[in-house]
C-alpha cells in the first residue's frame, strides 16, 4: 500500500448521473476520503454495492468493485474479505437495498462481524424507482405507492444492528464532510463489521427528510458526553426517536472479527497447480 494516496485516486472518470444536489455525492466523497486516510489504495480496496441510486456509488469510484443485485451486497462483501483478508472492503447501499430486500442479510452480516465497513445511504425513500416508500419512510409519508403513507412504523436500523449484536454502530450526515469521513474511517478501522447509517437526502422525491430537516434536528454526539463504549447509553440513544444522532453511537472495543475468530487469514487466490501433496490422504480416509 502506498502512503501518498489522495482521495481523488478513488474517483473514476465516469460522471455521476445522480440528480444535482443528491446526498449521495457527499456520501461518496466522504467514503473516498475515509479510504485514503485509512491508508489503502485503489488496487487493494474492494467496493461492493447493491441496486438503487445509492448502488451506483461503486461505478463512480475507482477500485476493485462489484455492483451486485438488489439487496445482496453484504454477502458478496463478506466473500471478498474472507477470500482475501488483506483487502479493505466497503459495502454501500440504500435503505431499500439494505433494510428491505436485504434485511435478512443485514442482520446476519452484523452477527457474522466480518471486518468491513457498511455504509447505508438512507434517504428514507426509493430513489431509483422514482419515489416509493422505503422501510425508513415515516408512517404518514405520502408516496406514489402509499398515498396515505405506509402506516407502518419505520424500521430503526441502529436498533436492528444493536439487537443483532452489532459491534460498531454509527450515523453520519452526507454534507457534514469532515465528520462523515471521520466516522466512516473509524468504521473501516474497526475490527469487525463497521456499520454507518448515512443521512443522504433525496432532493427529488423526499421533501420531508431534507437537508434542512437534518440540519435542524441533528445532534452530534461529539458535542455531548456520550460514551460509545457504554452499551446502555448507546441503547438509550438508539431508542430515542425524538432526535437524529450523528457520530459513533456504539462501539464494542472487545470485538473480534470473524476472520480472527476462525483463523481465516490467507489470500485464497494462491493455489498450487495440482492437487495438494497429501491429497491421497483424503482418499484414504474412506478405507
Amino acid at each position: 500500500m502506498s502512503s501518498n494516496v489522495r482521495f481523488t485516486d478513488f474517483k473514476s472518470d465516469k460522471q455521476p448521473t445522480w440528480c444535482p444536489g443528491c446526498g449521495d455525492f457527499g456520501t461518496m466523497n466522504g467514503i473516498m476520503k475515509a479510504l485514503a486516510n485509512s491508508g489503502t489504495d485503489p488496487d487493494n480496496t474492494f467496493m461492493v454495492a447493491g441496486i438503487g441510486c445509492s448502488g451506483k456509488i461503486g461505478t463512480y469510484m475507482h477500485s476493485y468493485a462489484i455492483h451486485g443485485v438488489h439487496g445482496r451486497s453484504l454477502p458478496v462483501a463478506a466473500g471478498v474479505k474472507l477470500a482475501n483478508p488483506d483487502l479493505t472492503v466497503v459495502a454501500a447501499g440504500g435503505d431499500g437495498d439494505g433494510y428491505s430486500i436485504g434485511a435478512g442479510h443485514f442482520i446476519h452480516a452484523v452477527r457474522r462481524n466480518v471486518d468491513m465497513a457498511y455504509t447505508v445511504m438512507d434517504n428514507r425513500i426509493y430513489g431509483l424507482t422514482k419515489g416509493q416508500a422505503s422501510p425508513t419512510s415515516r408512517e404518514d409519508f405520502e408516496t406514489s405507492t402509499t398515498p396515505e403513507g405506509p402506516q407502518q412504523p419505520p424500521v430503526n436500523p441502529l436498533a436492528l444492528s444493536l439487537a443483532a449484536g452489532g459491534t460498531f454502530i454509527a450515523q453520519s450526515f452526507a454534507t457534514d464532510h469532515k465528520r462523515h469521513a471521520e466516522i466512516v474511517q473509524e468504521a473501516i478501522e474497526h475490527d469487525g463489521f463497521g456499520f454507518v447509517n448515512v443521512f443522504s437526502p433525496c432532493v427529488t422525491f423526499n421533501d420531508v427528510d431534507t437537508y434542512d430537516y437534518f440540519r435542524d434536528n441533528l445532534v452530534d454526539l461529539a458535542d455531548t458526553d456520550h460514551d460509545p463504549t457504554d452499551y446502555d447509553a448507546a441503547k438509550e440513544k438508539i431508542l430515542d426517536s425524538s432526535k437524529e444522532y450523528e457520530g459513533v453511537i456504539y462501539k464494542d472495543e472487545s470485538s473480534v472479527s470473524y476472520e480472527q475468530k476462525f483463523g481465516v487469514d490467507q489470500d485464497m487466490s494462491d493455489i498450487p497447480s495440482g492437487a495438494p501433496d497429501d491429497a491421497m490422504d483424503l482418499v484414504r480416509e474412506f478405507y
Binding site: S12, D13, K14, P42, D43, N44, T45, F46, V48, G58, T59, H62, S63, Y64, A65, I66, H67, G68, V69, R72, L74, P75, V76, A77, A78, G79, V80, K81, L82, A83, N84, D86, L87, G104, H105, I107, H108, F262, G263, V264, Q266, D267, M268, S269, I271, P272, S273, G274, A275, P276, A279, M280, L282, V283, R284, F286, Y287
Partner: protein, 586 residues
C-alpha cells in the same frame, strides 16, 4: 450361489439404521468386496420407515437390483415394504421380543430367524448394541468372516475407547453364535474375501473431495437434503488447505458469498438442491454477466416446490440449462457415477476459470447419498490438473490496459475470454457489474457494445467446443442398431442392464452423456441407429427433448418419476418392452 448378495436393515428412523448399514458396508469393503449401498428414507428424523441396503459382489457393482437375500427387520413394516424384493429362501432376522415385531409374519418360503437381539446385546454390555448383534447374525447367515466386521467396528467406535470396541465385538459374536447354535439351517451364501483395498465413498463426498483436489478454498452453503453432505465433508477439511466454509443465512447469501470470494480470486463453490437453485437463480445472472468463475452444485431431488425431499429425480435440467432472465451462457456438467462426481468437479473448476462462466454440476440424490467401493486409484490425485485460465499479474497486465492505462476485464477477444486480475494486482482495479457494460466493465446501453459483449460471452461456448472433449462415455455394442442415451446416475443401472440384455441375446449401444451444455453433437450416432431410447428420472423427458431439438429426430423415452432410482433388472425389462412394442407395431 448368486454372484451378488443383497442385504438390508430396516426400521424406524432413529433406530440407528444408517450407522448399522454403514458398518456392514464398511466391513464388506474392508474384506475386499465391492459394495453398492442405497437408502430408503423419509423426510423426518424419528419414526417413519427407513432402510439401508447393501449389495455386494467380488466384481464391481454400480446399481441396485430387485432382490433382497437377507433382511434385518426391526419393524413389521420393514418386511411389508420390501416384500417385492424378498424371494423364496430370503432370510429375515428379527427380534420376536421387540414390541414392533410382536405379531411378526414371515412370508411363505422365507426363513425367519428369531434372535433375542436386545437380550444378547444387554449381555454383551448394553441394549444399544442390538443392531450389532444382528450384524453378527448376518455374518453367520452369509458365511462372512466376522473378523472383517471387527475391523469396521474398530473404525466406527475406536474413538470411543477400546472397551466400547470390545463390547461391540462381543455383541457381534453373540449374534453369530446364536445362529450357529439355534439354527442348523444350510444357508446358500458364502461371502468370500479378497486382498483388495477399496474405499467406500458417496457422491456428495466425492464432490467435496474433488473440490479440495481442484484447489477450492471457499465454500458457502445452506443446508438442504441431499446436498448437505458436501458441506459437511468440506467443513473441517478445507481449513487444512487454508480454505473456509461459511454456513450462510440462506441460498441467496450463499451464492453471493461464493461470488465475492471468486471475485477476490478464490476457487469458490456452493452446493444446493432445486429449491436452493431457485433462490440462487437471481444471482446466477450476475455471475454470468460479470464473467465470474463459480461452481454451483445442484444435487437434484424430487420437485417441484418441496416435492419429495428424500427422493430421486432428475427434474432440474431445464432450470440449469435455461433458468434466469435474459440469455446467459453457462456450462452444465453432469457426472454419471460416483467417481465421476470427483472428476467432473475438478473439471468444473477448470471450465469455470478458463471460460469465466458459472458452471453447474448436476448431481442427483441417487448418487449423492449412495456409497460405492472404488480402488483408491480411481481418485488418483496426480492426475488432477489445475488451469486458472487468463489470469494477469503486475507484469502481464500492461497488455490489457487501454490508452489511458485502464484495465479491461471485458476486453473483446477472439476466443471470447478476457483477462482476469485478482484484487491487489497493480493497475487492475476494475468494476464488475450485472449491468451491460463496456470493455472496462462500466455500464453501457450503447447498442453496438451490447451486441459485442453478448457475442463475446457466447463465443466462449464455441471456443470450448473446439478446445474441450465433450464426448459421451460409451458402453455396450458399438455396432448395435439400438442406441440408449442417458445422463446422470442412471449409468450404473444401465451398464448392468446391458448384461441382463446380453443374456437374452440383445445387444445395445449405450452412450452416457456427462455434458449437458456445451454438449456433444449426437446426430451421427442417432442417425446410425434404428432405435433411440433416452432414459432419465423425470416425467417430461427433459434430456430427450434436448436431444430431439439438437438432432431433429424423434426418440423413445423411458422415464421414471416415482422417486425411486432405476434398478438394473427392472430397466432391462423396460428396454425389452420398449423394443418389443416397436416390433409389434412394425
Amino acid at each position: 450361489m448368486p454372484a451378488d448378495f443383497n442385504w438390508a436393515i430396516g426400521g424406524e428412523a432413529g433406530d440407528g439404521i444408517d450407522s448399522t448399514g454403514k458398518i456392514f458396508a464398511q466391513a464388506l469393503s474392508r474384506a475386499g468386496r465391492h459394495v453398492f449401498t442405497s437408502k430408503d428414507f423419509a423426510s423426518r428424523i424419528r419414526g417413519g420407515y427407513t432402510a439401508y441396503k447393501v449389495r455386494t459382489a467380488i466384481d464391481p457393482v454400480q446399481s441396485v437390483v430387485d432382490r433382497l437375500d437377507v433382511l434385518i427387520a426391526l419393524t413389521q413394516r420393514t418386511i411389508d415394504e420390501n416384500l417385492d424384493e424378498l424371494h423364496e429362501g430370503s432370510v429375515i432376522i428379527y427380534d420376536g421380543d421387540r414390541s414392533t415385531m410382536a405379531d411378526v409374519e414371515i412370508p411363505e418360503g422365507m426363513v425367519g430367524l428369531d434372535i433375542p437381539l436386545k437380550a444378547l446385546a444387554e449381555e454383551a454390555g448394553g441394549a444399544i448394541m442390538r443392531n450389532v448383534v444382528a450384524l453378527g447374525a448376518a455374518c453367520a447367515v452369509a458365511d462372512f468372516p466376522i473378523e472383517n466386521l471387527d475391523s469396521a467396528l474398530q473404525k466406527r467406535f475406536g474413538g470411543k475407547g477400546e472397551a466400547i470396541v470390545e463390547n461391540n465385538k462381543k455383541a457381534a459374536r453373540a449374534g453369530l453364535e446364536y445362529v450357529h447354535d439355534e439354527y442348523d439351517h444350510e444357508f446358500d451364501y458364502d461371502l468370500e474375501t479378497t486382498d483388495e483395498d477399496y474405499v467406500l465413498i458417496n457422491g456428495d463426498q466425492a464432490i467435496g473431495m474433488g473440490a479440495i483436489a481442484a484447489g477450492c478454498r471457499f465454500y458457502a452453503g445452506y443446508p438442504i437434503t441431499p446436498a448437505t453432505d458436501v458441506m459437511e465433508y468440506l467443513t473441517g477439511r478445507i481449513e487444512r488447505y487454508g480454505g473456509h466454509v461459511v454456513q450462510a443465512e440462506d441460498e441467496l447469501a450463499a451464492i453471493n458469498l461464493a461470488l465475492g470470494a471468486a471475485r477476490a480470486g478464490a476457487r469458490s463453490m456452493t452446493a444446493t438442491s432445486g429449491p436452493g437453485i431457485d433462490l440462487m437463480t437471481e444471482t446466477f445472472g450476475l455471475v454470468a454477466t460479470s464473467e465470474t468463475p463459480l461452481v454451483i452444485v445442484d444435487v437434484m431431488r424430487s420437485g417441484p416446490s418441496t416435492g419429495m425431499p428424500t427422493k430421486q429425480e432428475q427434474g432440474d435440467l431445464n432450470m440449469m440449462l435455461y433458468g434466469g432472465h435474459g440469455e446467459i451462457p453457462r456450462f452444465v456438467v453432469a457426472p454419471t457415477s460416483i467417481d465421476e462426481c470427483f472428476w467432473k468437479t475438478v473439471e468444473a473448476f477448470n471450465f469455470a476459470e478458463k471460460y469465466q462462466v458459472p458452471v453447474y454440476v448436476a448431481a442427483d440424490l441417487a448418487m449423492a447419498v449412495t456409497e460405492q467401493t472404488f480402488s483408491p486409484e480411481a481418485f488418483d490425485m496426480d492426475e488432477v490438473e489445475i488451469d486458472r485460465g487468463k489470469v494477469v499479474d503486475d507484469d502481464s497486465i500492461d497488455e490489457w490496459l487501454d490508452e489511458e492505462g485502464r484495465f479491461q476485464p471485458h476486453a473483446l477477444t477472439d476466443d471470447g475470454v478476457s483477462p482476469r486480475a485478482f484484487p491487489g494486482t497493480e493497475q487492475g482495479a476494475h468494476m464488475s457489474t450485472g449491468l451491460e457494460h463496456d470493455e472496462l466493465g462500466r455500464r453501457t446501453e450503447d447498442r453496438s457494445m451490447r451486441v459485442e459483449q453478448v457475442d463475446k460471452r457466447d463465443r466462449k461456448v464455441e471456443t470450448a467446443k473446439e478446445t474441450e472433449d465433450f464426448s459421451p462415455r460409451e458402453f455396450g455394442d458399438a455396432d448395435s442398431d439400438t442406441l440408449i442415451l442417458s445422463w446422470g446416475s442412471n449409468e450404473g443401472a444401465l451398464v448392468e442392464a446391458l448384461d441382463f440384455l446380453e443374456e437374452d441375446g440383445i445387444d445395445v449401444r449405450f452412450l452416457s452423456v456427462p455434458y449437458m451444455f456445451p454438449r456433444p453433437d449426437l446426430t451421427e450416432e442417432i442417425e446410425a441407429a434404428d432405435e433411440v431410447i433416452v432414459v432419465e428420472c423425470n416425467a417430461t423427458g427433459q434430456f430427450a427433448n434436448v436431444v430431439e431439438h439438437d438432432t431433429l429426430t424423434r426418440v423413445k423415452r423411458i422415464n421414471k418419476y416415482d422417486g425411486v432410482r432405476f434398478k438394473a433388472d427392472e430397466l432391462a425389462d423396460e428396454i425389452k418392452a420398449t423394443l418389443d412394442a416397436e416390433e409389434v407395431s412394425a
